[in-house]
Amino acid sequence: MSSKSAVKADSLSREKVGYWKKLGIDLAKNPWLYIMLIPGIIYFIVFKYLPMWGIIIGFENYSPFLGPFKSEWKGLYWFQRFFATRKWWDYTSNTLILSVMSIVFTFPAPIILALLLNEIRNIHYKKVTQTLLYVPHFISIVIVVSITYVIFGADGIIYKLTQSVFGTTIDYLGDPKVFRWMIVGQNIWKETGWGTIIFLAALTNVDTQLYEAAMIDGANRAQRLWHITLPAIRSTVVLMLVLRMGSVLDTGYEHLILMSNSLNRSVSQTLDVFVYQNGIVNGQYSYTTAVGLMKSLVSVIMVITSNKIAHALGEEGLY
């Protein structure tokens, strides 16, 4: 009896020691690999996981002087306060409207452009146009906004053009009615050309013989597009849409805070911009951390849901 339990204990401890022992052997065998890992591990712990732990300040009244351990614990106070302001729906709806607009208008643009580019058979024409189309992707958002300010501002060419054509003019940079269209327009201008690459890559995988067979069967161009080309990029489209849905609450704050001003505040304040304004600018760290946490959680839920939908559609999805 006693020997039996002794054996059991022994095997248990051997198992426990085993893991660390095996790790030790591995370490001794590949010392350089583990040394190489050190910077990366430190990086992920300090810059990715420490901020995750730092979410704790969203549950306290964080004071930079007291630090995260001594600050007063507030529980869910900030979450309640956010929903009590009634302003929360403004920020959320601004975020959602901008996101839906960008999915409806920005998302299909590169697909359409890729399909059109795919029909071009003159190599040189295609190369030249592609080279031009990729240019804005490399231009920084500051430059994109600056160009917008110069062209659409009160001295700008478009501003003057609208004035001379319509008699009246639009305050492109201040009017809340045009703000979202400006953002969507800038995004379409910047990323449509670049976005075609991934769809064009998917189109390269189409077997040319399919087209030949379809032609022999008498399919015209529209039929070939519908029955061969579109199914070929379907899974890429779904994957890109899943990725896009996951970031439905990300409105590109680096872009928005450049375009927002006192005139268009009613529409430019999305959740991201709210967190930036009140957190980094005004120093309400705990409050904005709580808002940011809710946003992150919704994003994770969105990724999981849209991935499930992708699976339901018979596609591979993200994971």
Binding site: L23, D26, W32, L33, M36, L37, P39, G40, I41, Y43, F44, F47, K48, Y49, L50, M52, G54, I57, P64, L113, L116, E119, R121, Y125, K126, T129, T131, L132, L133, Y134, V135, P136, H137, I139, S140, I141, V142, I143, V145, S146, Y149, V150, I157, K160, W189, I197, L200, A201, L203, T204, T208, Y211, M215, V275, G279, T288, T289, L293, K295, V300
Partner: protein, 319 residues
């Protein structure tokens, strides 16, 4: 057969394999509708490509116009009178030049740090026999789906690590892009194991194998991701805006933002002479600053296009 050759419109070399892009179906039986479609398609693509680059061309040419011509002539692209006054004005103070130098410094240091961290983490993780591989990969993947958010990240960098006001705050927090690291890791996994084994037999350890065998084989991949990171550093303004306190350290993008978006006087130091000198920057000066900030990107654009397209394709095909 000859017809089939024509179908291969353009090709791209990827990992030594030639892939044809855009095997657009050649109309064997060309109908009237097909020809009309082609004409329309070529026109549309041409127009889209033109509108994509037109704003940039407009800014470049107009930056060489005189302020008088900009004010009096309603709209034009090529100026009647060429002048470099705007450039003389912005280079009169060393503000722009200094920020240009800062940007170059940040870009070079940042990219080297990025590549170092990415490679040293990707290489050990490409070894399937490493015991810590799975938990570490999980650690990386989780960080891709969930993050602490803007404010905790800001607090970690600025108040816990005390990096506010130093360039470290711009260089370290983004040292590894998890997504890029995974692609580099996949690339390392694709390198034939025999090569590294023979290096080990010749007395190399893991570090010397990495430096002497693996890195020389991965130069195209390193160039691709080096450029990814470099463009990211050159174009970023947000970390500099929230972390830097001394405006002598500002990068070009932030200066550009201050000049145009917050309408700061372009020749900052000149305003010091006269405290009441608050003149909004003139149109030509804004344009000249935009051109100065865009030129470096345009100079390396041929490389960017080549390597970036490859990078996107590698990610798309492997992911």
């Amino acid at each position: 057969m000859a017809k089939k050759d024509k179908q291969e419109v353009s090709s791209v070399e990827l990992n030594g394999k030639v892939i044809t892009i855009g095997n657009g179906p050649v109309g064997v039986y060309r109908t009237k509708g097909s020809i009309i479609f082609d004409i329309l398609n070529y026109t549309i693509i041409g127009l889209v490509a033109l509108t994509t680059v037109l704003p940039i061309i407009y800014i470049i040419f107009n930056s060489f116009a005189t302020e008088l011509e900009l004010q009096t002539r309603p709209m034009f692209i090529i100026p009647n009178v060429w002048s470099v006054d705007a450039y003389k004005y912005i280079f009169a103070s060393n503000k722009i030049l200094r920020s240009f130098g800062n940007s170059i410094f940040i870009t070079i240091c940042g990219t080297l740090i990025n590549l170092f961290f990415t490679v040293t983490m990707a290489y050990p993780l490409s070894k399937k026999y490493l015991r810590m591989r799975t938990p570490l990969l999980n650690m990386v993947i989780i960080s891709m789906f969930f993050s602490g958010g803007m404010i905790p990240g800001y607090i970690v960098v600025s108040s816990w690590l005390k990096m506010r006001g130093t360039y470290w705050a711009l260089l370290l927090p983004g040292a590894i892009s998890a997504y890029n690291m995974m692609i580099v890791k996949n690339f390392f996994q694709g390198i034939p194991q025999e090569l590294e084994e023979s290096a080990h037999l010749d007395g190399c350890n893991d570090l010397t194998t990495l430096v002497r065998i693996v890195l020389p084989l991965s130069l195209p991949v390193l160039a691709t991701f080096g450029l990814f990171y470099a463009v990211g550093h050159w174009n970023s303004y947000f970390p500099a805006m929230i972390y830097l306190t001394d405006d002598k350290m500002y990068p070009l993008q932030l200066i550009l933002r201050n000049i145009i978006v917050t309408a700061e006087a372009a020749a900052g130091d000149m305003s010091l002479m006269d405290p009441n000198f608050v003149e909004p920057p003139k149109q030509s000066i804004k344009m000249a600053v935009i051109v100065v900030a865009t030129v470096p990107i345009m100079c390396v654009y041929p490389f960017l296009q080549k390597y970036f397209v490859k990078g996107v394709m590698v990610g798309a095909l492997k992911g």
